[in-house]
Each structure stands twice: as structure tokens, then as C-alpha cells.
Symmetry: C2
Subunit: 198 residues, 2 copies
């Protein structure tokens, strides 16, 4: 088992030593899902966070009319979860599934506690994650409230250049809160303005 991304993440982001990482090695549980497979469905309690070692996930809601709204993408080195569901032990109202064949590391409460026992830094890292998450959600809400579809699209490709190239456009449209047709027109208009993302 390699898990180069996961281990680098622990070394650099969580400031664990190589030695400490070896200590937790036996706690690591991975799961591999194929394209379209679910890691979380509405109604289930989301008992894990998912660190994406390789692949691409989406986190989305389904409204009463069956319309999907993508809240987040997660490619390599991202963590995705409905942590509130785990925290409050309530069924989630969201779905997580795989856009590409994906390998994730399962992060349970138990795992977090055990790692925190080995190195207390990990708790601080955990809080940093939450704070960052809130920040990004604030920005998301601000843009949805105040910016046009075009502005939101430009922000998206700046923020998630890797994801932009790996997902179908109708998913980006769903993330932006517009129809695929509208996104296609936004792109056409940008092309006319001679816009070059790369």
C-alpha cells in the first residue's frame, strides 16, 4: 500500500514525523470505488471523512424535484464529508459519489482520536480544516448572492483548474447553479471576448 498523497499530507499539513506516520500505519483503512459508486447517500449517517488519495468525488444535494446541486468537488489531497451528520449523529441529506475511479482513506472519529493521542497537533489541524471550510463557504455564498453566472464560472476555473478539465460541463453548471445550456453560452461569450484560461 503506497498512499503517497495521504502520507505527504500528514507530513506537511499535520506536521507529523515519519516515525509517527509509521505508528498510525496500521490504522489506515482505504476504500476503492468505481465511477458512479456512492460513498454516502441521503438518509445515511456519514461516519467517515474521505481523503482522496487518487480520483475525483462529488458532494451534492437532491431537491424535491430531483434536481442535483453540487456543493463540492474533491480531487487528490482533498477531504470531503458531511461532518455535521457524523457530529450530530443525524442522517445526511447529501450524496457523495465518484466521478472517476477513486481510492479514499477512511477517516473515522476513532482514527482522529488515535492520531491526536500520538500527536496533539492533529486536533489543531482539524480545527484549521473547519475554519477553512467556513471561509470557503462564505465566499461561495457571497458569489451566489452577488455575482453573475459568468463571474462565478471565472472564479471556478481559477479556484479549481484541475477539476475544470476532469468533469463534464453539466457538473460545473450544477456547481454554479445554472443549466448546462447557460454555461455553454457563458463559455461562448468568453470565447468571443478572446478569453484564455490557460
Amino acid at each position: 500500500m503506497e498512499l503517497a498523497n495521504f502520507k505527504t499530507y500528514f507530513l506537511e499539513q499535520c506536521e507529523l514525523s515519519k516515525d509517527e506516520i509509521e505508528q498510525i500505519d496500521h490504522l489506515i483503512i482505504t476504500k476503492t470505488v468505481s465511477k458512479g459508486e456512492f460513498l454516502l447517500k441521503q438518509g445515511e449517517v456519514c461516519n467517515h471523512s474521505f481523503f482522496v488519495e487518487k480520483g475525483l468525488l462529488r458532494f451534492y444535494a437532491l431537491n424535491e424535484e430531483g434536481k442535483e446541486s453540487i456543493l463540492q468537488f474533491a480531487s487528490e489531497n482533498w477531504i470531503v464529508s458531511d461532518r455535521g451528520s457524523a457530529y450530530f449523529q443525524q442522517p445526511s441529506t447529501y450524496y457523495i459519489d465518484a466521478i472517476e475511479p477513486t481510492t479514499v482513506v477512511l477517516i473515522s472519529e476513532d482514527f482522529i482520536n488515535q492520531v491526536a493521542n500520538i500527536n496533539p497537533n492533529f486536533r489543531a489541524h482539524n480545527e484549521r480544516l473547519l475554519q477553512n471550510h467556513i471561509r470557503s463557504l462564505y465566499k461561495r455564498v457571497s458569489l451566489l448572492l452577488g455575482a453573475s453566472a459568468k463571474t462565478r464560472y471565472l472564479d471556478f476555473i481559477k479556484t479549481y483548474p484541475d477539476v475544470t478539465l476532469r468533469v463534464p460541463q453539466w457538473m460545473i453548471a450544477s456547481y454554479l447553479g445554472v443549466t448546462p445550456e447557460s454555461l455553454s453560452r457563458v463559455r461562448k461569450s468568453l470565447a468571443k471576448e478572446n478569453f484564455k484560461p490557460y
Copy 2:
């Protein structure tokens, strides 16, 4: 100094004893602002959370064209802050000002640490706040992505019945991400459908 709301909050939400609340009494700092006064402006680091003892605050962003987007209201017993700004010690991109004459309790990192020393419950409470916040932001994003202005308005008055009656409608419009004129039309249409909120 009364602060009945703040102390009840600590008793019931944070599970401190009356005795412990007396111990922290001397740490409590309050601030009173009149209508229109700011507690936070873009560019400042937001070093406090604000517990609303009495009154009503708004938390909003200003985009490049000068358009306000209200992210949150905070009436009695709510806490509002750009905690990310404090956490990362970066200037905030948001504003907080008073819609009514308001008295707040200032909650600094120092305050949190001292209270946590007296009763460790407080840290757990703190994390619960963050988790709750993320949940509400997820819901907010889902609605902005997938629901009409009318649906969002109905959700608003259900979620914030007290706020609905205390703020001008153009602020609710700003919270919903529509113009005051649109909100007026939504209300008219609801009236035609014989909708009664109360």
C-alpha cells in the same frame, strides 16, 4: 450589569454552573452600538466574536460594484463573527453593523481559553458551534443553487421568524440574493395564493 441572555446561554448551552459563571463574570466585556454603527469593517482583523445580548446585527459582503450581500443576521442569543479572520489573522472581507441599537458581549480568544480552563465543556461547545455553522451554510448554498426566490423566502421566514419582522424588506432581499422589487413581487404572489405565515 444584567446580561440575562448571555448567562442563560452559558448555563444551558455551555453547561456551566452558576458558580462557574460567577468566576468568569470579571472577564465579560460588553459593547453597545447604535443603529448603523460598525463592529467590523472590510480590511480589519476580526478579533472578537459577538454574542448579541439585545438588538440585531447584520453580517455582509460588498462586491466590486458596491452591492451588499447579507450573509447572516444575528438577533438575541446569536453569535456572529468572521472567525476565519481571527483564526488566520488575516483582514476580513466582510462588514458587521447594527440594524437596531445593540449590546454585545465581546468574545476574544483569550476569553475562550480562560473559560475553557474553568470548564473544558466550553471547547466542545465551541466545536459544536462550528459544526452547526457549516451545516447551515450547506443548506444555504443548496437553496441558492437549487431553489427559486419564492422557496428561499418561505424558508427564510420559517427559519428566522423574529428577524423577518424586524428588518426592512430590502435587507431580506439582499439575504435572498434578489432585488427588493423582486421580493415585493414574490410577496404579492404569495398573498394571491392566500399564504399566511403566522
